[in-house]
């Protein structure tokens, strides 16, 4: 049986020969199953941080994979990955037909005709140690109709299609935001694959035809590949998404299906020409049986429709999508399946699962969760080949992280007044988890956000969503009354004009890309 570990370890051994732990019984080899972006993100990170003499990393990059997304979205947390891997942002954007993401515009969610933005950065600034939103609620009650978006540098910039990197001057409103990216998924995968391979990760371009389990304890014993070869590793990472190549054997049926909360389980998407220059911002628009995305890339747009298979057939979804494309189609529509929910355990025995591509794509947390999943594996790198303590802690943290993101996604569907469609009626009337119920109750009472452990989305994200979907609290913080209305008025006027003036100094997103990171013309679409 070919081992995924020892050969490589011997071959690449540090010339000084003084790696200190070779005798220790630690995880010496990791096999990643699945060849999509999360698989190569995992491989790139592990290869960068684990010397190949310490731990071998290989990816079983199956040619026959379930269809994957056409674009990928990174949240601002991706900057950490860039730093860790030493990736040059411009190079990354150039080679992935990438664009910058200040956030997303949400249309028709609370009510048809509504529009709001969820961008990466604070809404306004505290005054006298009282959070900003309370002053906005106060002025609103007094009849002021300035939208909360005017107090967000990122939103003002997104609406004006402008982009620049934030400054490091903490006094400038131009430091009050962050940004993520949009990538062409295939190009991102290729980018990360190249990086991972350059850092010692091995690629095996084979399909897994069989998973053998050890009789005694149910651990994965090895994988049989389609060329008849066998592969074994100390730890397996399942990045096969909906296929669940390994996890369905090890974790069996222990998947928490959340379709009663997140009803979309299918999507159809297509790349089309970009006729509009959408700016540094994606769009998410509610539709009668789900929602539609438009993710801008350089020279093209990924347009997709996520829908509930209980409410809509595939053909009908495709024809609805194709009827409203922003530009000419560049290929055939691609059908995707997801499994909104999470595994009961993310790591069981010697198998860890990164289910990114199986998640509901709303708010684009897939790549982020792959990233935090791998970072957490490194933080809790098992102290021995099988370490139940480390696994338990990994699962404890990851469960909380997924459930908080679930609540955030769920609120988009729940906080609606849309009617006249069984899909939205079901969403509006559904029972919700206690954590989300507590959040809604506290916010409705006093405009504050209850925060739980391992929240990825912070207060300002929740506020953007609540306010954007027409939920306003009964009252604001009484401490916001310590300042008189005139003082508040003039402070908020200053904030608005400072933000507007500063954003006007930014180049347009198109100019920024042209100047710094335009894709080379030879870069293919697919």
């Amino acid at each position: 049986m070919a081992s995924c570990g020892s050969d490589a370890a011997a071959k690449d051994k540090n010339p000084s020969g003084s790696i200190s732990g070779l005798t220790a019984e630690h995880v010496r080899s990791i096999a990643i199953v699945g060849g999509g972006p999360e698989a190569w993100l995992a491989a790139a990170t592990l290869a960068r941080l684990l010397k190949s003499s310490f731990c071998d990393v290989c990816v079983i990059d199956s040619p026959k994979r379930a269809p994957e997304r056409l674009s990928e979205t990174a949240l601002p947390s991706f900057h950490r990955l860039n730093g860790l891997l030493g990736i040059d942002e411009c190079d990354l954007i150039q080679k992935t037909r990438g664009t910058f993401r200040l956030g997303a515009q949400f249309s028709d969610w609370g009510r048809i005709g509504d529009r709001y933005f969820h961008t990466f950065g604070p809404l306004g600034a505290k005054l006298d140690a009282v959070p900003f939103q309370h002053y906005w609620f106060k002025l609103r009650q007094a009849g002021d109709d300035n939208g909360i978006e005017r107090y967000s540098t990122a939103t003002v910039a997104a609406k004006m299609r402008r982009f620049a990197r934030p400054t490091s001057d903490r006094h400038s409103v131009l430091s009050f935001y962050s940004y993520g990216y949009h990538f062409h998924a295939g190009l991102l995968t290729a980018y990360l694959r190249e990086y991972a391979q350059a850092h010692g990760a091995r690629r095996i371009g084979r399909n897994v035809v069989d998973v053998s389990l050890r009789g005694a304890d149910g651990f994965v014993d090895g994988l049989r590949l389609d060329d008849g070869s066998q592969l074994a590793a100390d730890l397996y990472i399942d990045c096969s998404g909906i296929e669940s190549t390994l996890a369905r054997h090890v974790l069996k049926d222990a998947y928490r299906d959340n379709r009663h909360w997140l009803p979309c389980d299918r999507a159809v998407s297509i790349l089309c020409k970009d006729a509009t220059d959408a700016g540094p911002c994606a769009a998410s628009t509610a539709l009668p049986c789900g929602w539609r995305w438009q993710t801008p890339l350089q020279g093209c747009v990924d347009a997709g429709y996520a829908y509930s298979s209980a409410h809509l057939g595939d053909d009908e979804a495709a024809s609805q999508l194709l009827a409203e494309l922003p530009g000419a189609a560049l290929g055939e529509p691609r059908f995707l399946r997801f499994l909104p929910g999470r595994p009961a355990k993310f790591w069981e025995k010697n198998c860890l699962v990164l289910p990114s591509s199986a998640l509901e794509p709303l708010e684009s947390t897939g790549l982020h969760l792959a990233q935090t999943g791998i970072a957490r594996l490194l933080t809790l790198f098992p102290v021995s080949r099988y370490s139940p303590n480390d696994i338990e802690e990994y699962n404890r943290l990851t469960r909380m992280e997924y459930d908080r993101i679930r609540d955030f996604q769920l609120l988009h569907f729940k906080a609606t007044e849309r009617a006249a469609s069984p899909f939205w009626e079901q969403c509006r009337d559904m029972a919700i988890p206690d954590t989300l119920r507590e959040k809604i109750e506290l916010y409705s009472q006093c405009g504050r956000i209850a925060m739980f452990e391992e929240e990825h989305f912070l207060e300002d994200s929740w506020l953007a969503l609540f306010i954007g979907q027409n939920c306003l609290p009964q009252d604001y913080d009484p401490l916001a009354d310590v300042l008189g209305i005139d003082e508040v008025n003039s402070a908020l006027l200053r904030m608005r004009s400072m933000i507007r003036d500063c954003v006007e100094t930014m180049p347009t997103h198109a100019q920024f890309i042209e100047a710094h990171c335009a894709a080379t013309p030879s870069q293919a679409y697919a």
Partner: protein, 505 residues
């Protein structure tokens, strides 16, 4: 939408100790400018001698929020600098360890320094982990380094808190509060009047026949909980099975020897003794379990273990460790001892008052005191309180004091699940689990766990990727940097002389 008539207009604070005046001061700062009236009702003063109070670093934020100058604060409260806590005798006679208020090593690295240290230890390197803490090294030398903002990657994370005379602090905050419009009433409360319809507190009847009505009542009346318990019957959760000490004897003594920049906690047969150095005296106390020692024996033990001459007769305190079932009940928020008792082993009493006030300001209610708002306050505050409890329990659970009934019982007791999980994780890998609401960060837990011989069976395997020679070099550089920074710093006396005109003797 908002009903202006529902705004809180009057707040009554019951009790004028540290908690009462801390509450008055911050409310004066934040609320009086908005037209809210704040009254403090305190019993006519019984002359007490402050035994000294020890704090943790966030106290500095509270003073900053009040706009109090730190030098003036040190002068007015006869305060001194605290770099951490020295624990003596918890693992048997002659044993000591230090809980520093600053991190081990320098800027965060991929793998924590204590994991590298653990690896080198296995290879025979006997260096103490304390050598990697600027706070610990400086404390041992009696010196106070500058809190630097150096960009040097070796620059260690440094923090400090204070020891001070709690009655002088209360007096100082009283002056601060009264100057900002807080009304002080020196009266006894004879009756608490509840509203029939909802059980909220309506008014306090004073011994001169006056009635004090308010929208919100802050109970700082101490352990008896005049409002939260006696009037509102909130209920108490008892933790004596985890933290068995239920008495304390306290006495100040004259200063002797150099002014140590740390609190000392010494294990004794039926509890532990604190030692808190102030500019003008030393605060001492013996926290003990009445099951294992009488008051007289405890007082004798305390008096036999003072650095200088006692300055008063020992005072006795009684308590049951635990907490109110709710810290906020109806229109009453309990602070300080009124909310519960945790022994001062990790100097958290003032911090808990401060944290309660922070939460109160974050969740400041209207007159309805909506249950959903109070519930969120309680969720956060109780969680934080219990995580501090766990940290204190750890000291008892992990003791190796020797053969004494109290300590034997504690070694064998079952501890809360969150704590046993944390211990199990640390024992497995040397990693510290972080919970939401944890006040004490990894450094503090590592200090106490390792200090009390809870030894990780394995270290972080990623350390094995590094050459041993690189680990040794890193260790050497850090120690050299810290030794230099601590050795060149002023002594505690010089430091205080410069900041607040302290003159020895």
């Amino acid at each position: 939408m908002r009903d202006p008539s529902n705004r809180i207009r009057d707040i009554a604070i019951v009790g004028g100790g540290t908690a009462g005046w801390m509450a008055a001061a911050i409310l004066a700062r934040r609320l009086i400018p908005g037209g809210v009236g704040v009254r403090v009702i305190e019993s006519p003063e019984i002359g007490t001698i402050g035994v000294g109070e020890a704090t943790i670093p966030p106290i500095r934020l509270f003073n900053q929020a009040l706009g109090i100058d730190e030098d003036e604060f040190l002068r007015k409260t006869r305060g001194s600098i605290k770099l951490g806590i020295e624990f003596r005798g918890w693992q048997g006679p002659g044993h000591r360890y230090f809980h520093p208020f600053g991190a081990y090593g320098a800027n965060p690295e991929q793998v924590s320094i204590h994991q590298e240290w653990r690896r080198l230890r296995e290879l025979g390197d006997e260096t103490s982990l304390e050598e990697f803490s600027l706070n610990s090294v400086a404390a041992r030398l009696g010196r106070i380094p500058a809190a630097s903002a150096s960009d040097d990657p070796l620059s260690p994370v440094f923090g400090y808190a204070f020891h001070f005379d709690a009655s002088l602090y209360a007096e100082y905050l009283r002056g601060y509060s009264q100057a900002r419009g807080v009304v002080r009433m020196e009266r006894k409360i004879v009756k608490v009047d509840l509203r029939g319809e909802d059980g909220f507190i309506r008014a306090l009847h004073l011994d001169d026949g006056q009635q004090v009505e308010a929208d919100l009542f802050i109970d700082c009346s101490g352990f008896r909980g005049l409002l939260i318990e006696q009037a509102l019957k909130t209920g108490y959760e008892d933790w004596t099975h985890w933290l068995p000490c239920d008495r304390a004897a306290a006495v100040p003594c004259e200063s002797a020897g150099p002014l140590t920049p740390f609190t000392r906690s010494t294990a004794r047969s039926a509890g532990w003794q604190w030692h808190i150095p102030l500019q003008h005296r030393i605060g001492n106390g013996y926290v003990y379990s009445s099951r294992f020692i009488s008051d007289d024996e405890a007082a004798a033990m305390l008096l036999a273990n003072l650095d200088g001459k006692p300055m008063a007769e020992p005072r006795f305190l009684r308590f049951s460790t635990g907490r109110r079932k709710k810290f906020w009940n109806k229109n009453c928020v309990a602070l300080g001892l009124a909310s519960g008792f945790l022994e001062p082993l990790e100097s958290t009493s003032i911090h808990l008052i401060q944290k309660g006030l922070t939460h109160l300001l974050n969740f400041f209610p209207d007159r309805s005191c909506a249950p959903v708002v109070a519930a969120e306050f309680n969720r956060l505050a109780i969680n934080e309180y219990e995580r501090i409890r766990d940290f204190i329990i750890l000291h008892y659970k992990a003791n190796a004091y020797g053969d004494a009934p109290l300590w034997n019982d504690c070694r064998n007791m079952a501890v809360p699940e969150e704590l046993s999980y944390k211990i199990r994780q640390f024992t497995g890998s040397g990693r510290v689990v972080k919970y939401g609401g944890d006040l004490f960060a990894a450094t503090s837990w590592i200090a106490v766990l390792l200090g009390q011989d809870v030894w990780p069976e394995r270290y972080d395997r990623l350390v094995d990727q590094r050459d041993v020679s690189a680990l040794r070099d890193h260790s050497q550089q850090l120690r050299a940097f810290i030794g230099q920074a601590a050795g060149s710093a002023p002594t505690h006396e010089e430091y205080l002389a410069r900041r607040c005109g302290y003159a020895h003797g």
